[in-house]
Symmetry: C2
Subunit: 408 residues, 2 copies
Amino acid sequence: MRGNVIVGQSGGPTSVINSSLVGVYKTAKDRGAGKVYGMLHGIKGLLDRKYVDLSEHIKSDLDIDLLKRTPSSFLGSCRYKLPEIRDNTEIYDKIFDILEELEIEAFFYIGGNDSMDTIKKLSDYAILRSSDIKFMGVPKTIDNDLAMTDHTPGYGSAAKYIAAAMKEVIRDGLVYDYPTITIVEIMGRNAGWLTAASALAAGEDCEGVDMIFLPEVPFDIDKFMARVTDLAKKQSSIVIAVSEGVKVADGRYVFELKDHVEYVDAFGHKQLQGTAKFLADKIGSEFGIKTRAIELSTLQRCAAHMTSRVDITEAFQVGGAAVKAAFEGETGKVVVLDRISEDPYICTTSCQDVHKIANIEKKVPLEWITKDGTYVADELIHYIRPLIQAELSPMMVDGLPRHLRMRR
Amino acid sequence: MRGNVIVGQSGGPTSVINSSLVGVYKTAKDRGAGKVYGMLHGIKGLLDRKYVDLSEHIKSDLDIDLLKRTPSSFLGSCRYKLPEIRDNTEIYDKIFDILEELEIEAFFYIGGNDSMDTIKKLSDYAILRSSDIKFMGVPKTIDNDLAMTDHTPGYGSAAKYIAAAMKEVIRDGLVYDYPTITIVEIMGRNAGWLTAASALAAGEDCEGVDMIFLPEVPFDIDKFMARVTDLAKKQSSIVIAVSEGVKVADGRYVFELKDHVEYVDAFGHKQLQGTAKFLADKIGSEFGIKTRAIELSTLQRCAAHMTSRVDITEAFQVGGAAVKAAFEGETGKVVVLDRISEDPYICTTSCQDVHKIANIEKKVPLEWITKDGTYVADELIHYIRPLIQAELSPMMVDGLPRHLRMRR
């Protein structure tokens, strides 16, 4: 008989991260696992012995289908970085003591490149401790900035939401007959994958966004203002997508050019906000044109009412594949997605060494950005398009999408 | 044989305003109208002789169903206030000359209380000019602030979107194990109907928002900060809904307490923005708690991917009822919605004198707000709930909702 397994969620939530949780839970149960524990608030909660028996919270097939449609991390999340092993073995021994006490055979962590650092360190320490607990990473991030994988679960749904919201904002912007400029700020500190998804809005029924600025290319304010002037001569409504993380040539974030509120999390990341507002105010004051700044904010990472079926299915698959791999003896690996065919789109999974993935950010290749840095190349659009296909309709109860909530 | 009719859209767009346009178009055609013209950018466009023959743009039943699902004003909108008749009869004569030249039998204007001013003045002038052109108002506004009607088309869908987004934001806020405060800014200058809709988030599967502030009640910053302190002792995530139009006792908008960018439109309205950010910054700097400000911005008025079927059906009905009434000889009237039964919810239409509706704002009754001004009463929730029921699924093409775009 199999031992028990434990699963945690870490980092920023997505609208499909719970589909991966279901993938781990269901596959572990189907393959004969004993108990499936869920860490509350990731590794940080585990250190405080905060965990649940998931079968007490997922009780039916209906629960499973509701959980797939529930945004944010069902188990709660954390942004907690384990110390280097050489600096503090005590904390590692504590974790392993708890895992052994719970008779854990395999440990799954659903997260992005920061969270994969946890899998790396725990699997490294397992070697030092001669533990045979398996540690597997399950990828998730709306940012799509994980190395070694074609894309990350969570990205497709965020991209679909962004493109759909952009189509609506573009229609809204065209309503008046005087000039309006709308600047939409999209998440992405260093990688422009999410902002690039705004390019999907353009089509037979939509004018598309006029400019797209990614953090991969230094932002030139003077050229930006000149481009806006040119566009304003030609059309009454201008819609611009800008990544929250765009920086000017000297390395400062654009929003830092004015004022900024700094919040630095445990991984040393600043909280970014205000890029669109800064640019909108600048255009408004210099050109006297009516402007509007829109931040998609957390809406883009929790819009479970508008998920991609491709994404939610793949999110489930990477969870399941992680369990299968662990039960077959793999450890210190991350399940990745391999696109083996473009048309028709076919993606499979494989396992990659976590050392090649943890703490590494995958950026948008410069050849997928137009030379003038104001839009994305067709290759990038072709890359994203399959990831937003099809829907998993929300279950509507009394007029609103139904979720599964953990009762404690 | 019937003459021709003309229809225009005015004021801020909604996600169902085009369903009213379809209601006018289809009912006019079905009842034997000649041509159905559409003013481009409302009365302002008509003055420049900008109009289209709608049958050249709505060519099939598929177009009709796509148009119902297309947000923003298909014909374009304007914020244009006609002068008082005594001040400028020339402009009125110009409009009537154009209408007579186009052999218009009935004129329909889809808009809110500002736009109904246009119907009032034109129908008044028709008497002076002894014209038998009929002028009918078709209500629309997400703000739900129109007098004489139970509610306005456009409100139910915006309310549904707000409640659904709130449910997602609430789940997102609960993800970390440290305190976070999310303040969500919702549209509504003087009336809190939209912000009140955030109360619908609470239910079996959702904790709901913690406080709701409407512009009907003066906002007391000190009490607000004290309430936040109390809540922060009890729970790790706090979500607060605040109307963009909340004002302190001396009449200043909350966002004006810091800095503000003023934009005043043709009706003398200031562009409001920054209430949530101001409050979030204040909490962050005084209490050192992580805060996030979210503005639902135009997303709440153009989220056609999340409409209420009740709303979109009623939007169609008021358009159709306006045509029927005009063809039966009514003029100077607005079609309103009458709720004749609560359970089951049943709504019918009737016609009301435009003079009782134009330029009047209907606010949330004070008895529908809790005494301490931090939440809404059950009566208000019961009032809104039927308006968000059921869905009109978007037509998804290549992964995104399909719209109908006017080609010029």
